[in-house]
């Protein structure tokens, strides 16, 4: 091969390598390749703490169901057997005032059942609350806001909103890679609840709560804020995207990579508008002067599946409508109608779409 040909080949490879580096791995919302677990059935646990709860839950449910069958049958039996017959002679039945033996029997049996429940409960509480996290467990800080979630990865230097991305763990306890969550609130009490992954834990202002996840299978797990926190509590939705280990690494890399600078005229116009109107007082975009912390971090907006914390799916139309008037989609939310002209919205949306 001539020197010129070799250089050309090298240049080719370099070019493609640069392309790979520059192109964000997910051109569309992250996590869509995993199963969408929309039905958050707590009886289909897919994470260790949820499974621990599930064991205790099944036991107590069966016990209670058994008691129900016994007592309800007794009630039906009594109602049928001791109803006043049509040919009743009008005499009063034998007047029984009580029986110590019977009283004892139906006191002792409930006590025994209670003892069993107490033992199971205490053990499960300890198992879950006192679980020791491995030193290298992924640590996430979840901060609740009215009505969105702020997610910080202090060890990775990532801040995102409304979606928690974690790597999948293993059913084998020796190979488990659980995730630790520190739960805080910036305003009122919220609650983190993704039923298939863990029981719920509240986010209380001025209190640091903790929980942990240890998922067995990949997927997009659906959850809700589970403590009434004001007008849009219903739309404070949450997704936990459990990646394969490789998928998680890719996501982290993509989150860390700064978004490409705006290219087209529309994008540049939108960029100018974004920074000259009060968008920056609430929102943060890494590597820029936008450092507002009141609203969600927008650095990697386009990698998310929804906007408005799950209020609507993230697509062109919804993004446009949101920027035009968020009150139309999520009335009462703390992003005001910015009174933008349609052309301004076009530009800003064009800019926002570069944030990937």
């Amino acid at each position: 091969m001539t020197l010129r040909a070799s250089l050309s080949k090298l240049g080719n490879r370099v070019f493609w390598a640069l392309c790979l580096l520059a192109t964000p791995v997910f051109a569309e919302p992250a996590g869509m390749e995993y199963p969408m677990r929309r039905v958050a059935d707590m009886f289909q646990p897919l994470s260790r703490p949820a499974e621990m709860i599930h064991e205790a839950a099944v036991l107590v449910s069966l016990i209670c169901f058994g008691i129900f069958i016994v007592v309800a049958s007794l009630l039906v039996f009594i109602v049928l057997k001791f109803r006043r017959k049509a040919n009743d002679d009008g005499r009063e039945p034998p007047q029984i005032y009580g029986s110590t033996n019977i009283e004892l029997a139906w006191t002792v049996i409930p006590i025994l059942i209670t003892v069993v429940l107490i033992l199971v409960t205490s053990r499960t509480i300890g198992e879950i609350q006192n679980m020791k996290m491995p030193e290298d467990a992924l640590k996430i800080e979840l901060v609740g806001h009215q009505w969105w979630w702020e997610i910080r990865y202090p060890g990775l230097g990532i801040v995102t909103a409304n979606e928690i991305h974690i790597p999948v763990s293993s059913r084998d306890p020796d190979k488990a890679t659980p995730t630790h969550l520190l739960l805080q609130s910036a305003d009122v009490i919220h609650s983190f609840w993704v039923p298939q992954l863990a029981g719920k834990t509240d986010l209380v202002p001025n209190k640091n709560n903790e929980t942990w996840l240890d998922p067995y299978e990949t997927g997009v797990y659906f959850g809700n804020c589970a403590e009434y926190c004001g007008t849009q509590h219903a739309n404070m939705l949450l997704r936990v995207i459990v990646h394969t280990p490789e998928g998680f690494e890719k996501w982290v890399a993509a989150q860390k990579a700064p978004p490409a600078p705006p290219q087209t005229a529309e994008e540049i116009k939108g960029h100018k508008l974004f920074y000259s109107t009060s968008c920056v007082s609430c929102h943060m975009i890494n590597g820029t002067v936008a450092e507002g912390v009141f609203g969600p971090d927008l650095t990697k907006l386009m990698t998310r599946q929804t906007i408005g914390a799950g209020a609507v799916a993230l697509n062109d139309k919804n993004l446009w409508d949101w920027v035009k008037d968020p009150q139309d989609i999520k009335v009462g939310c703390l992003m005001p109608d910015m009174q933008l002209l349609d052309t301004e919205v076009d530009a800003i949306v064009a800019y926002l779409k570069t944030l990937k």
């Binding site: 209670c64 129900f68 009063e92 009580g98 499960t124």
Partner: protein, 565 residues
């Protein structure tokens, strides 16, 4: 002494004045009701007002269920929905539950213990009017000028009003203040009535009625009254603290100043949990009167029933944080409250068994009061068992704040308390009005309401299992919740005609009901020894009793209770 009759059968009481029967002028009747201190009139006023608020709060619930029929429905705006669930819960507990149970207590206690009125008749009237005005104050919030968006109008912070959502910063305007002030007022009324109940029960019993010879109804209300005077002040206290925070800048719940959001929850539930026992124990009281009479046997295990009731009240003061399992208490704290909650299930279960034991070997008559009591037994069984499920703290970490809890407490309060209230109303209606309630209308009421009730609340257990949280004005599609919400909503429209039949029955029977004698059900406690309705002074001659069932002794002189008790 044994030759002295308990009640002078030859005495003919003068005809009691029946309100409404003579064509009295409206102003005369209104004047009488406004100024009355008679426990019977006040009792009926309590129950009547409670039923009025029941209809209003029930309509709110119906509208909420319409909103929840479809996912992403726009039938109700979010803030309207949020105000509805706040007002529905607050009204049902404080303006329906409490007044109706106090109404029953007021009407029946003096009659059951053989005295002429409550110990403090004027305090009684005061308690009623304070409650009534507190209800008007709460609903007045709707009219109070709405200001900034969500700044005025009715409270929307949930019936338990957790801080810091109720702080000035997050609840602007005065809606939260209406909630606070209305309940503070109502609390004073409740405490006044409770003190009246305690004093009446301890100090005015007729001759021979030792504590061990009181009807279980009276015992249970004595226990309820003690719970009220101990448990209501914590609510008043934290509400005063909330007002101080909101208006004088105090820092009780200000998390930025070192205050604790969780402290509100502790204080609220120290009140709130005993409160739900305050609500249900009167239901037990009614069941303990109705079930024996319609089974034709005395209550099985009277002493145990008393002991169990006292135990329930006592333990109920120590279970409150089972409402807070998710708030981040230590594992010790969670374990303690899980245990105490499970323990309280034991005396409660014993009571169910005792009622069954009463029915066993009896000759059950399925008159309306008994039908509702049987419904109560079945539904309260379910409610109690879902409560046991919730007491397992880790399971509660999933179930708390979900529709499973909503299903649980509606089974307790509707399936349990409301059914016994229906039973009690049908049972004592002839005594209060001298007319029998219509059985036919009552059957329509029972079946429609029961079918509708189960249809509404049974599926909510399932939507809870599938992750549906409480207090959401809408939900996403495809979460598996639609079908359960839809069945639930349809049930409402079956319950509604049931309630119409109930109200219709009350009105129809008043005018057209079959005339009732003194003792239409062949019962055994003292209220049935006087006329229907009783004269204002209750008894021509104050009775004297020798056993728990004085009328049984009268009717069966060869086999009186006092020989066996």
């Amino acid at each position: 002494m044994s030759s002295e009759t308990i009640i002078d059968e030859n005495f003919k009481a003068p005809e009691p004045e029946r309100v409404g029967e003579e064509r009295g002028s409206f102003t005369r009747i209104a004047q009488e009701l406004v100024f009355t201190v008679d426990h019977k009139k006040l009792g009926l006023m309590y129950i009547g007002s409670g039923l009025l608020f029941f209809v209003v709060a029930g309509l709110m619930a119906s509208l909420m269920r319409i909103q929840l029929f479809f996912p992403n429905s726009k039938f109700l705006e979010p803030d309207v929905f949020n105000r509805f669930f706040t007002m529905h819960g607050t009204a049902m507990v404080f303006l329906v539950g409490m007044p109706i149970i106090f109404g029953f207590a007021n009407y029946l206690l003096p009659l059951m213990i053989g005295t002429r009125d409550m110990a403090f008749p004027r305090l009684n009237a005061f308690g009623f009017w304070v409650f009534f005005f507190s209800g008007l104050l709460l609903y007045f919030s709707y009219l109070a000028a709405p200001g900034l968006y969500a700044a005025g109008s009715a409270p929307d912070v949930g019936w338990f009003a957790y801080s810091p959502l109720t702080a000035k910063a997050f609840s602007r305007g005065h809606s939260t203040d209406y909630w606070t002030l209305s309940l503070l007022m109502g609390g004073i009324g409740s405490i006044a009535t409770a003190i009246n109940i305690i004093v009446t029960t301890l100090c005015l019993r007729c001759k021979g009625m030792t504590l061990g010879r009181m009807p279980l109804f009276v015992w249970l209300f004595l226990v309820v009254a003690f719970l009220v005077i101990i448990a209501m002040p914590p609510l008043s206290a934290c509400q005063i603290m909330l007002l101080l925070d909101r208006y004088l800048g105090a820092k009780f719940f200000d998390t930025q100043a070192g205050g604790s959001a969780v402290l509100w929850q502790h204080f609220f539930w120290i009140f709130g949990h005993p409160e739900v026992y305050i609500l249900i124990l009167p239901g037990f009281a009614i069941a303990s009167e109705v079930i024996p009479v319609f089974s034709r046997k005395p209550i099985f295990g009277y002493p145990i029933m008393v002991a169990a009731s006292v135990m329930i009240a006592f333990i109920s003061l120590g279970v409150w944080a089972h409402h807070m399992f998710t708030v981040g208490m230590t594992s010790m704290g969670n374990t303690f409250f899980a245990i105490s909650t499970m323990i309280i299930a034991i005396p409660t279960g014993i009571k169910i068994f005792n009622w069954l034991g009463t029915m066993y070997g009896g000759k059950i008559r399925f008159d309306l009061p008994m039908m509702f009591c049987i419904g109560f037994l079945f539904q309260f069984l379910i409610a109690g068992l879902t409560g046991v499920m919730l007491s397992v703290a880790p399971f509660d970490w999933q179930l708390s704040d979900s529709y499973f809890v909503v299903a649980h407490f509606h089974y307790v309060l509707i399936g349990g308390l409301l059914y016994t209230i229906f039973a009690g109303i049908y049972y004592w209606y002839p005594k209060a009005f001298g007319k029998m309630p219509s059985t036919k209308l009552g059957h329509w009421h029972f079946w429609l309401f029961t079918i509708g009730f189960h249809m509404t609340f049974l599926p909510q257990h399932i939507s809870g299992f599938l992750g549906m949280p409480r207090r959401i004005f809408t939900y996403e599609a495809d979460r598996g919740w639609e079908i359960w919400n839809q069945i639930s909503t349809i049930g409402v429209f079956i319950q509604m005609p049931g309630i119409l039949f109930f109200v219709g029955n009350l009105i129809y029977s008043y005018f057209k009901g079959e005339k009732a004698g003194d003792d239409p059900w062949d019962a055994w406690t003292l209220e049935w020894s006087t006329t229907s309705p009783p004269p204002e002074y209750n008894f021509a001659k104050l009775p004297e009793v020798k056993s728990r069932r004085p009328l049984w002794d009268l009717k069966h002189p060869e086999d009186p209770d006092w020989k066996f008790e």
